[in-house]
């Protein structure tokens, strides 16, 4: 019994040291190269740190979207990405999610996901060919998604709302 307890304590110490080492090793690359994916406190901090000037931010916000954003994730390496989540004013949780990535391979799963797609239609967004998807989120709320390519970026906006507000937000996106 005493032997088992001794073994257990030694093993617990090993696990704690390993966890600390893994945390340190996980942090080290961000210290060596700040361009990796991380969370930023503000959009200006993200654009300044990543030194990417052509990040698109909406200038129109409907009443139900709260400013400032709830979370801002960004990276400049291996390719620029900006993913911004906005909370709602009338409901808890994220109601708007914008993703801008310089790679078609990038996929960030947002908390807004169309579980039931009712319609997918092409949409002309300021002269660019976009794809609009309309349906329901997992909680049964109406949700919509707009995707298009703008310059070197693949854009995606998802919103807990009908597509009308989503289109106005997309049309207002500028560097």
């Amino acid at each position: 019994m005493r032997e088992s307890l001794r073994g257990l304590l030694s093993f617990a110490a090993i696990v704690l040291v390993l966890l600390a080492a893994l945390k340190l090793l996980n942090w080290a690359p961000t210290a060596l190269d700040p361009g990796g994916m991380r969370e930023y406190p503000s959009l200006s901090a993200a654009t300044a740190a990543l030194q990417v000037e052509d990040l698109l931010v909406p200038s129109y916000f409907p009443e139900q979207v709260r400013w400032p954003p709830r979370s801002i994730l960004a990276q400049s390496k291996p390719y620029p990405v900006l993913a911004v989540a906005y909370a709602g004013t009338r409901r808890d949780g994220v109601v708007l999610h914008t993703t801008q990535a310089a790679s078609a391979e990038f996929a960030l799963e947002s908390s807004i996901a169309l579980t039931t797609v009712r319609e997918i239609v092409p949409y002309d967004l300021n002269g660019r060919q976009a794809t609009l998807a309309v349906g329901l989120c997992s909680d049964g709320e109406p949700c919509s998604r707009l995707t298009w390519q703008q310059g070197r970026y693949w854009m995606k906006i998802e919103m807990v709302s009908s597509p009308f507000e989503l289109i106005r937000i997309a049309e207002s996106m500028r560097p």
Binding site: L18, L22, M37
Partner: protein, 331 residues
């Protein structure tokens, strides 16, 4: 598809995560053996098998449990995210992912040169040998040795050779081969110890877990951690067979003397015809081999208590559970 895209694909993530998971498992297992004070080679081998068995299954299992595990959101909250290192460029010019792939390719090459080619050569050579030798059961010391051993015994063949050789073949026609030189040099109790050790190898080779471990190791041929760990498992197998031989003969001293006699008489390599580097490499290999033999002899002479031999079963369960839990948050 470029390297970055490949490493972000399912196959690439499998390759990366199985490597990182095996490295973490190897560290935890190695330290656990000391923490739980494991002395039984059978239990020690079970610990080491975790390094081969868990990483091959962990990635698909974890992805099945949570398909979002490869998402950026999960990676941001993970204990360790390998992509942070793989996306890093050393001195602004050398991507770590290139080094990583280089290590895997070198491991694959080592596997090919040190394991696959010798195995194929050995298989081809053994097929060409029509007569394995003469049956040795009529030899007095062999007959004595076999009479003192319980259970089914394989055929024993005698090879006309002055060198000290004892080996066994496994499979359906398993057999033991002894050289005439060895038979003349050993006392009957030592011959029995040598045969008992080979019988242990034959009996162990039929265990499905070991066969599975070998197959898994073949599948993970690019993983350097698995390559090293498998070699340690093979060394542990010698200790297990030593213990089985002692349990069959009840004479650890005879086995220790046999090991000293068989492996302690290696002649010094002559370096006149070979290059000096080859001679140094051979000398180093010989030195490490002798060290292993010395450790085996020491272990045989120590004879740990029954309590010590049973230690570690609970530790194995706790270690396996901890490794699975930690690796789940390592992507």
């Amino acid at each position: 598809m470029n390297l970055l895209d490949f490493l972000n694909s399912y196959a690439g993530m499998y390759l990366v995560q199985s490597f990182v998971h095996s490295l973490i498992t190897a560290i935890v297992v190695d330290r656990s053996i000391y923490a739980w004070r494991i002395v039984n080679p059978l239990i020690m081998q079970r610990f080491r098998l975790l390094v081969i068995l868990l990483p091959i299954l962990s990635f698909p299992l974890f992805q099945w449990i949570d398909p979002e595990r490869s998402s950026v959101a999960f990676r941001l909250g993970a204990l360790f995210d390998s992509s942070r290192w793989l996306n890093l460029e050393l001195f602004g010019m050398l991507p770590v992912r290139l080094l990583f792939v280089g290590v895997l390719l070198v491991t694959g090459l080592v596997f090919l040169l040190q394991e696959v080619i010798p195995l194929l050569r050995h298989t081809l050579l053994s097929r060409r040998v029509a007569a394995p030798g003469t049956r040795a059961e009529t030899h007095e010391s062999v007959a004595q040795a076999l009479a003192g051993l319980d259970g089914e015994t394989p055929a024993v063949y005698l090879m006309e050779d002055d060198a000290f050789t004892v080996l066994s073949t496994t499979g359906s026609d398993s057999a033991i081969f002894l050289s005439t030189g060895l038979l003349e040099a050993l006392r009957p109790t030592q011959v029995q110890a040598a045969i008992a050790h080979e019988i242990a190898h034959i009996r162990r080779s039929r265990r499905p877990l070991l066969v599975m471990a070998y197959l898994f190791r073949m599948l993970m041929f690019l993983n350097p951690v698995v390559l090293l760990e498998f070699r340690r498992i093979v060394q542990e197998e010698e200790n297990i067979c030593d213990d089985m031989a002692v349990s069959m003969t009840g004479n650890p001293q005879a086995l220790a003397d046999t090991l000293r006699r068989v492996y302690g008489s290696t002649e010094e390599p002559a370096d006149t015809e070979r290059g000096k580097l080859a001679a140094v490499s051979e000398a180093l290999e010989d030195y490490s081999h002798r060290l292993l033999i010395e450790k085996r002899i020491e272990r045989l002479m120590e004879a740990p208590s029954a309590e010590a031999m049973n230690r570690g079963r609970l530790g194995w369960v706790i270690t396996a559970a901890a490794v699975v839990a930690i690796n789940y948050y390592v992507v």
